[in-house]
Every structure is written in C-alpha cells, then in structure tokens.
C-alpha cells in the first residue's frame, strides 16, 4: 500500500471510527466515534499533533500544591497528574504514543535515585511526548542527554578511563544498542533475523563496540539538582582518543556532543534499527504478532518517508496506525492483550468519570503500586514490564505466537483489576450526596435508563458501542441477556453487575477486529 492510499483512510463506519480511537487514544469517549464517521483519519491525526501539548510537569505541580503533604511532589502526585492528562487531556494521540515510548526508552521511579524525583520523571514523560513526532535521531538524542536517563542508566558523570585500569561505565552504551536502537541481533527489514551459514542469528555488535561506545558517552554532567534540564558536557572528563564503533572510525580530539551526534546518526542509519524499533512499536500499539509484511511496510517508511527522509517518527506512527491490516485482519494476526493499566483508563474515559465534589484534579492514584502490576514510568528495570517475545505457555506458545502483556497478567492481578472494575462501576455520580474528592465517579445514567425500561437489547447495544467498537460478540450478548433475565433486577445494581460481566471478559481485555 502506498502512502497515498492510506492518506485517504476513511472512517466509514462507527466500528472503524471507534477502533481508530481505541488505537490512537486512551479510549473513545461517548459520542466521539460518531463525530468521526466519514472523516479523514489523516486530518484527525494531523489536527491532534497540532494541538498544544499537555504538560505532566505543570500538572504534577498542581497536584502537589493541592493534595500533597510532603516537601517535594510525590510519586503518587505524578500518577494522579498522569491520570488528569490521560482522562481529560485533548492531545490524546501524542500522550498515547508518548506512553508507548516510555516503555521502549524506559526510565523508572523504581530506581533508588529517581524515586525521589517525581517532578523529573514527569518532565521526562513530557520530553517523550514532545519528541514523539520528530525524527528518531532527535528523539534518541533528547533521551540520551536527559538528566533522568543520565541517572537511570548512569551516564551522568561518566569519565574517561585512567592509568589505574579504571574504565568508563558501559551501562548506557550497552542498553542504547540492545533496547533503544539496533537490538541484540541483526534483522531484515521485515523483522526476521539475519542468520549465518549455521542458521544462527548474527549479533549486531561486539563487546569491543560496547567498550568503545562507553568511551564516547563520557563527559556529560547534570547541573540541575531537580534533574529536569538536560545534561551538559565537561570536556575534561571526555575521552578524546580515537575510537572504532560498528565499523565507523571516530577520530581523536572530537568533543563529546559532536561524538554523541555521530552515534545518533550511526544508530539511525543501521539497517537493524528500523525493523527492531518498528516491530516493537507495532506490538505496543496494534498487535502482538504483526506479519512480516506489516513490519516491512512500517520499517520502509522509517527508511524513507517518501521524501527521502529517514527516521520520520510522525510518518512511522501514521504508517502503523493507518495500516489496513489494523482494521481488517482477524486474530491472531491482529490481536493484543490490553495493558491492565490502560484497561482501567479506558473504562474511566468511556464512562466519563469525574473526581468527586467538582474537584478539578484526579484524587486517586488507583493504588498504582499493587493494582495492575504496572504503572507509567514504573518499570522494574530498563527491560520494561514485559518482554516483546514473551509467550505464555499453552495456547499462545503452542502456536508459535507471543503475548507480551500477558507476562504481567497473572491470576492474582486479574483479581485485583477485576475488583477495581467492580468497585468503580459502583461509584456513580448518582451515588453519595457529598462525593469524596479522592474518588472518581462514573456516569452510568444512560445505561441505567435502558434497564429501568426493561430494555436489555438497548443496554447491550450501548455497551457494545462504548466498549467493544460496536462489535460485541454474540456470545457475550447472550451471557448478558441470560444474566439479566435470570436475576431480579434492581436497576443500579444491575448496571454494575452487567458491566462487570462485560468488562471482565476476555473480549474487552484483548483488542482485536471481530468479524
């Protein structure tokens, strides 16, 4: 498919419009898909990017002033600020994509140093959103020189080796290649591995490459105690000797920043970067098991955006999200487990949740440390919450498929998440007279009306539209009808029960096209 073809992607039906919003935002709100029907997806995409960017840093400071008791913004205030933006921010596409980038260019407040720098983590989130649609080189440099990354992967204050045999820290040199660019092994454009004569994958780099690259990443310091401003250079710490990296010669006496730029260029130009990065992005946005052709189509756009430019991330995201496969192919080709954290956010958005007492700020952090086995910028290590090749044993691994998100979806967290879903549907705006500012209240009035009128068909139709892109499987419709008919109905409680059945089902927790 050429870029002209996808530019004209029309959201011709409700289902397609809703699916588009499911992929490009934190979840469609009521009536949003209707407004998009027959609109051009590209026009919406461009308009979204043109919107002013929400600021996590500004928002955490608002949260801090209003609700924190300590002297500096807490981790909880960062999560509440994140929810403010995810639930009510207009720049949904940028935020959704920024969230994906936070799971590739991982920095985490689980780190002992960063745990005390919630404001800096919020600023790092902003940095990812700001650069999400720029060029890969620009994004990678912004990440590499950020003080947060400098502390997380320990490049800050890294110095040239000395006569005692002390060497520069290799941490960032290793992980930027394994996780942020080329990957461990060489890939073809379609994401498959390049094999040697014995059928063994070929490593992209050697230990020598890492040691040499570690010498490049010396001489960067952070002057901002808050870790918000980017790092700057101090040439006296920089290793100015000659180096050889991935077959490229770095001549002697070159400044740290110039060498940094050269590395960004080399990693961007490396043939394994487009397939390695693009496959990962597709997995985090659309499907766990993209076809080689899908990967190739997107990676080709990374290689050349049609105007001879490499690494145009705006073009890459458009290629991923507008690909015809994403709207037409059935599982397992297009199928992805919803991240538990995002499933909660989806529900709050779909049910137009609001903080109690007309508070302008979200007052709950969703007990983020235990509910979902994940929370934004809280990965246990730079390897993210789950690995892109994780395959749960059984029905997924038997078919040679992967399901990365399933790595954090265990029986115990299913109970935590399902309990959260059950509890949140109980807290509706028609509930207590003095609503608690620390809670989010959902609006289920229109759903309740169907049941008051004894109209289970109307209820199902609306739930299908708001949570299933109007494609609720007949199986689930059947269960809801049976449930409705078999239990004595008390409208308020019934909404909660029926929604719980629908929103705890695999049909909601796995995103896919349904025939």
């Amino acid at each position: 498919m050429t870029s002209t073809d996808t530019d004209s992607l029309q959201l011709s039906t409700f289902s397609r419009a809703s699916r588009w919003l499911d992929l490009t935002t934190f979840g469609p709100k009521m009536d949003e898909p209707d407004k998009l029907i027959n609109q051009s997806a590209k026009a919406w995409f461009d308009a979204q990017i043109a919107l002013p960017q929400s600021s996590h840093r500004m928002q955490i400071l608002r949260q801090f002033e209003a609700l924190d008791k300590g002297k500096i913004p807490s981790r909880s205030s960062r999560i509440r600020a994140w929810l403010d933006i995810a639930l009510y921010g207009n720049d949904q596409l940028r935020q959704r994509v920024g969230y994906v980038l936070s799971q590739i260019f991982v920095a985490s407040d689980k780190d002992a140093t960063l745990s005390k720098h919630a404001e800096a983590l919020a600023a790092y989130n902003d940095l990812l959103c700001l650069n999400a649609f720029s060029h890969y080189k620009t994004l990678l440099k912004a990440v590499s020189t950020s003080s947060v990354m400098g502390h997380y992967l320990t490049m800050v204050d890294n110095k040239k080796g000395d006569e005692t045999g002390r060497k520069p820290d290799e941490n960032y040199a290793r992980e930027i290649m394994q996780l942020f660019s080329v990957g461990l092994n060489e890939r073809n454009l379609d994401g498959s591995y390049v094999l040697d004569a014995d059928g063994v994958p070929k490593p992209c780099y050697s230990e020598k490459d890492i040691q040499e690259l570690a010498r490049v990443f010396t001489g960067w310091v952070s002057k901002d105690k808050k870790l918000v401003d980017p790092m700057t250079t101090n040439e006296s710490f920089h290793d100015r000797g000659e180096k050889h990296i991935l077959g490229h010669r770095f001549p002697a006496n070159v400044a740290a920043e110039e060498e940094m730029d050269k590395v960004m260029e080399i990693l961007s130009q490396h043939p394994s970067t487009p397939p390695n990065l693009c496959k990962n992005l597709i997995q985090k946005l659309v499907t766990s098991n993209p076809s080689p052709d899908y990967v190739k189509r997107v990676a080709s756009v990374f290689v050349d955006n049609g105007k001879g430019v490499r690494g145009d991330m705006k073009a890459v995201f458009w290629a991923i999200l507008s690909d015809n496969d994403a709207f037409s192919k059935l599982p397992p080709q297009i199928s992805k487990a919803r991240e538990p954290w995002l499933s909660l956010v989806y529900i709050y958005r779909a049910l137009n949740a609001k903080p109690g007492g007309n508070s302008p700020l979200v007052g709950t952090d969703l007990v983020y440390l235990r509910t979902c086995n994940q929370y934004p910028l809280g990965s246990p290590s730079v390897f993210n919450f789950y690995q892109p090749d994780y395959a749960p044993q059984g029905v997924v691994s038997n078919q040679g498929l992967v399901a990365p998100e399933m790595e954090i979806i265990d029986w115990s967290h299913v109970i935590y998440v399902h309990n959260q879903i059950f509890a949140l549907t109980r807290l509706n705006l028609q509930g207590p007279k003095t609503p608690n500012k620390k809670q989010l209240y959902v609006d289920v009035e229109s759903l309740k009306n169907h049941l008051v009128n004894g109209d289970i068909t109307g209820f199902i139709h609306e739930v299908s539209a708001r949570f299933f892109n109007a494609q609720m499987p007949s199986d689930l419709k059947h269960h809801l009808t049976e449930q409705h008919n078999s239990v004595k109905q008390v409208a308020g409680k019934s909404v909660q029960r029926l929604l719980f059945i629908a929103l705890s089902s695999p049909y909601f927790h796995v995103m896919e096209n349904r025939a």
Partner: protein
C-alpha cells in the same frame, strides 16, 4: 511442543511400565519421602558477589583491593566466616550481611565461588585464540537470566526450565494445588507436566464481583468458553485460574496466617508469601515444593557501595528471618534456599564508582541440613591474571548447571535424573 508426563518419562529413557509408577520410585528420583523444598532467589541485574565475600588474608585481599580500588571492602568491614576456599584462602563476609553470620558460624550456609553461565569448559587460551564456545549474548541481562534457568542441549538451551523438569519427575500431581510457586515471571519452573502457581507478595484478594450464584455461573462460563483467538483464550485461562486459585487460597489464608517473623521488605514479603505455601504443604499433601523469587536492583553500575549496602541489608534480613522462622518450626533442614544471578561483575571498578557486567560470580546456599561448605576457588582477583577473560571479567570455573544440579540432587533427583536434565554436565566434570 508440550510433552505429557508419560511422554517425558519415556523421553528420559524410562520403560512404559516405569512411567506408570509414581515418579518418586522411578530411576530418576531418590526414594526419600520426607518433605523437601527448594527456594531459588534470583538477584536480578548481576550481583557483585565478590563485594560480599572477600578474602581475609593479606596477599589475596591486596590483589582484590588493587583491582577494585575505591570500591574495595576494607578488611575492617569483613566478618570472619571461618570458611576457606579449596585453596585455603580464608573468606570474610561483608558486615552488611551480618544477619547471616550465625548461619555461617553454625555451618548452615554454603558458598559457591566463580560460577557462571557456560555451554562448554573454557580456558583463557581458548578465549585468546577465539576458539572458546561462549554462551550467546554473554553479557546481556535478559539472555543470561534465561541461560541460568535452562540447561544447554548442545545447540540450544532446553525449552523447559531445569527446576520445572525436576518438578516433572518429583511431583506427583493429580490435581489440587500445584507444588511449584513463583512471585514473578520466570521460565525456571516451566516443565512438561508440572503445574505452577503465582503467589502475590501484596497478599490475596478474593473476587468481589461474584455477588450471586448467577454472576458466578456467568463469570465461570466466560472463563471456560472456547475462543478462536489464542490471546483471548490465554486471558480466559488466567481468569479460570483465578477462580480456582481463589477457592484454594481462601482456605490457605484462613488456616495459615502470613509469617510475621519474616521482615516486610520486598523480598521479605515474597518469603512470607511462599512460607504460607510451605506451612500449608501438609494440607495440600505436598512432600516436595519448589519456589522462584526475584528481586531487582543488582545492576550496580554506579554508587555501588551505597547501593550494595541497601541490597545486602534487605537480602540478609529477609533470608535470616525466613531461616530462623523455619528453624523455630523445625523445618530448616528440609528447606534449601539458593541464589541465582545472571552474572558477576568486572574485576575493575568503573568511573561511576560502580562495576560493569561480568561473567563468573558467586552464589549462596542456606539450610537443607547439609554441612555448610565452600565449593570452588576464590578467583585470582588480578587484572590480566589467570581468571581474567582479557576484559576484566572472570572466566567461571563452575558451570551454572553444576550449581543447579547440586541443588536438584538434594531435592531428590537421582544421578540419572540429573544427567538427563543436564545432558552436558559431564563435560564440566559432573556434579560439584
């Protein structure tokens, strides 16, 4: 491909008759019928074991200090373990591990020195000549974490984990509660027929949405339905597991409270969660249990001294608390706790007051009723010395498989069983 238990036993060379008798009587298991449990604690990030166990005698401490410069632990901060390596070098324990000192003094702790992931024995000459057979992606965290959990079959690693395969042989599970438990994602416990169960360090919650029999029925029907989408089925399977687990766990939680003699740290809460399963072993009818725990933060590229101090504090308090609880319960000799970690760290320090990814490291074993001992040699802590791979990383002398084999043999595998799960063990000289 998944193998049924019988296929697995057949693959291991058992006759079809042998495959029908309980595994504990087969050729692959020893016949002990007492309770035994193996707890594997994965220290993620690559633990700097040689920051924790350091030579006490002047000559070797000097070599170590010369390599490690400012990071070197001074002799004054070392506690006497009374242990010597196979060369007679007296070994000290970092004072931040003090809660574990009594275990060393009482002979309840063992050390395994310079152990690492290997697929063939390696000499410095092999490395120099480029002929060494090295594990793929030797210094990458995720790949070496995987390597540690599997055995090398000659061209690839085993698909199942070595502890899962052990469980296949030792556990006679006809339903009921699984006897393999974990607190975090792993492949160590993946076997062919064994079943595994997640335990949550944050505690058990029961499903609150099942307010009526009709709700329960529908929820259960959706979990048990067939799905054309494999991922949807996979999610449904986890929900089905939640339904079963909540019944099982409700019973456990009401009969066996969390053991509050164990500290409440991250690792401590993991120990509490598995201790509950140990306490419930008689109720489950388990006479063998295996456990996987994991704790991160060991990738000490910077500020290693303060980072390691915190890590050692949490580790030693949690392990000691767990051990003492078992001791009071009279089961300490029936439970072995061993560490795993993807690699050790460099001989030299780096310019961030930390260390980089190494290769050979060391591991701890506690309890199990064995007389504590030191296995292996303290490596020559010299840059460009005989144990240096040329880049300041130690060439292991003991394969991770030898270490693993030592533990699963204790758990009850026969030598034949061990050699089947670790088919290349003999090239390293067999069991340590």
């Amino acid at each position: 491909m998944t193998l049924s238990r019988r296929q697995f036993m057949t693959a291991m060379g058992a006759t079809s008759t042998a495959a029908l008798v309980p595994a504990s009587f087969s050729a692959y298991a020893s016949e002990a019928e007492d309770y035994r449990a193996l707890v594997c604690v994965f220290l993620k990030g690559g633990n700097d074991f040689f920051h924790q166990v350091v030579p006490l005698n002047t000559e070797h401490h000097q070599d170590y200090a010369n390599s490690r410069q400012k990071l070197a632990v001074p002799k004054a901060r070392l506690l006497k373990t009374g242990m010597r390596d196979s060369q007679g070098i007296a070994l000290g324990l970092h004072q931040s591990l003090k809660p574990l000192l009594p275990l060393f003094q009482q002979g309840k702790a063992s050390l395994v020195l310079n152990v690492g992931p290997m697929i063939a024995p390696i000499t410095p000459l092999d490395i120099e000549s480029g002929k060494a057979l090295l594990p793929p992606n030797l210094f990458a965290h995720n790949k070496q974490q995987e390597a540690w959990q599997h055995s090398w079959l000659g061209e690839t690693y085993s698909k199942a984990g070595w502890l899962g395969m052990t469980a296949d042989v030792l556990m006679d599970e006809m339903g009921g509660m699984p006897s393999s438990f974990f607190t975090g994602a792993n492949s160590l416990l993946d076997g062919h027929s064994n079943r595994t169960m997640y335990v949550n360090k944050n505690g058990f919650q029961s499903l609150k949405g099942l307010t009526s029999p009709a709700m329960r029925h529908t929820y259960q029907a959706i979990a048990g339905a067939s799905y054309t989408s494999p991922l949807a089925k996979s999610y449904a399977n986890v929900v089905a597991e939640a339904i079963t687990a909540q019944k099982q766990m409700a019973k456990v939680v009401s009969s066996y409270p969390l053991d509050n003699r164990i500290p409440k740290s991250n690792l401590g809460r993991q120990f509490r969660a598995i201790k509950q399963m140990m306490d419930a072993a008689p109720m489950f009818g388990h006479n063998r249990q295996v456990f996987y725990l994991a704790v991160g933060g060991y990738d000490t590229h910077d500020n290693q001294i303060s980072r390691q101090d915190k890590l050692m504090k949490e580790f030693s308090e949690a392990v000691a608390g767990f051990y003492h609880a078992l001791e009071e319960d009279g089961t300490a000799d029936h439970v072995m706790t061993g560490t795993l970690s993807e690699f050790g760290r460099t001989l030299h320090d780096n310019s961030r007051k930390g260390t980089d990814h190494g290769w050979g490291g060391g591991q701890f074993i506690f309890g199990g009723g064995l007389r504590g001992k030191c296995i292996g040699e303290y490596p020559a802590f010299k840059r460009n010395g005989p144990d240096d791979n040329g880049d300041g990383r130690l060439i292991p002398k003991i394969s991770h498989e030898q270490y693993a084999a030592y533990m699963v043999k204790w758990l009850g595998l026969s030598e034949q069983g061990v050699n089947t799960i670790f088919p290349r063990l003999s090239q390293f000289g067999g069991l340590v």
